[in-house]
Structures are given as structure tokens and as C-alpha cells.
Symmetry: C2
Subunit: 108 residues, 2 copies
Amino acid sequence: MNEQVAVTALSAIAHEGRLAIFRLLVQSADAVAAGDIAAALAIPASTLSFHLKALQQAGLIVVRQEGRFMYYSPNREAFNSLLAYLTENCCGGGGCPIAHQGESRCQA
Amino acid sequence: MNEQVAVTALSAIAHEGRLAIFRLLVQSADAVAAGDIAAALAIPASTLSFHLKALQQAGLIVVRQEGRFMYYSPNREAFNSLLAYLTENCCGGGGCPIAHQGESRCQA
DNA sequence: TCTATATTTCTAAAATAATGGAAATATGCT
DNA sequence: AGCATATTTCCATTATTTTAGAAATATAGA
């Protein structure tokens, strides 16, 4: 993880619609089709496509095609790297009482 | 934590300069004066002030005045809330193998 | 009071991002 | 082939954000 990548990822989720999309995927056990995301969040297809592309380019989600359907899921590994980067070396390194630096928050 | 607050916080750190500022503070054991931040990151004073205000309004940093100096530190509690919100109910809730939902990443 | 230092506010130009309708593409079904 | 469904690309408009110099404000010390 480096600053450029982190900023791109943060920018991707720093948006009402995209954060909702990302959280929907994070909270889903399985991948979700674009059309189902659109229905769940009431986002027009072209707008959704734009946002999904942003999340994808940021590396936060992955897509799998199945016929006409595009199934999206979160890239949990990339997401955990981002979280780790944000808290990296916190409190000056040694002294942080409850630092869990290497640890994943969600799956891995 | 709710979506609005989360988006504001994420937008605050979704910027190269502001992420560097925030990480500098997170990694510091003590509060840092605005001038020292400016020097460390080579950011013009007015630009820095603009960014510090954004981080403050997002609730991610706090400031304490001492004479002419403004000392900034991260709001670790708010930051941990943000991280918790992002991973909330992940993998559909029950099934996530390594979910540490209530846990803080960095101090608390 | 006068001067130096620290920081913020004001400003206006420049850059970047978001929106959604219409058209295009792609797949599947009959 | 012809039609329906799923999704993306194109586009122009609109809105928001970023930048840093100059001026303003605030505090400290001589």
C-alpha cells in the first residue's frame, strides 16, 4: 500500500452512493448482480455503472461475468490493506496500548 | 456513525495532502503544531489551514491552542468509529471467520 | 507601543467529479 | 433472425473542490 493507492481507494468510498454500494457488497455473503445493486439502492443504471467502475479501478471490488450478468464482490484483501495503511505505526510505533497492526478486520 | 458522517470523514482523508497530515498525526505520540506540519510536509500555510479545517470539520482531528500555536492531534475515537462502520456486519453478519467488529485498531 | 511569529480568512482562477438520458453492446431465448 | 434483458459508453451540463498569494488577526516579547 502507498499513499497514491490509498487516496484512490478512499476517494472511491468517499461518496454517498459508492459507499452504500461498497457496504452492500461487504455485508453480502455472495456476489451481487449490478441490476440487484441498482434495485436495492435505487441508482440509475448508467450512474451505477460509473460508480462500479470507480470502485473497480480503485481495486476495492472485483467482478465476475456470468452470461449477461455482472456479479460484484468486495476485494476484502485490498480493503484490509487500506485499513492497515491508515493505522500503520500509530501512536509513534511502540507505545500504542491496543494496536492490532497486522490484523484483518473482515475475512482476509 | 452514519453514512453522511462517514462520507465526510472519508472525503477528508481522500486527498493526498490531507491523508499525509492525518497519518503524520496518527503516527505522532504527541500533538503537532501547524507550523511543524507545514514544515514536515512542505505545504503553504494557507493551504494547510484549509486542509486542517476540513479534517477538523470531519471530526478526525482535534486542536488545542497554546499561545500563538495550534496543536493538532487525531481524534482516535472518531477514527475507530469510522473503521468500525466500514466493516460493520461484514460477510453477512454471522459467518465472517475473522470478524473483530467491536475492536479498535489504534488506541481508543 | 512596535516588531516578529503563527495562523487564518479572503479571493478568484483552475481542475476535477457527478449526473442521467440516449444510444450502443452483449448475451440469451424462441 | 428477431426480441428482451443486462450493462456500459457517450455526452454535455452542473456542481464541487483545490490552490496559494495577499491581507487580516492574534499572541508574545522587547
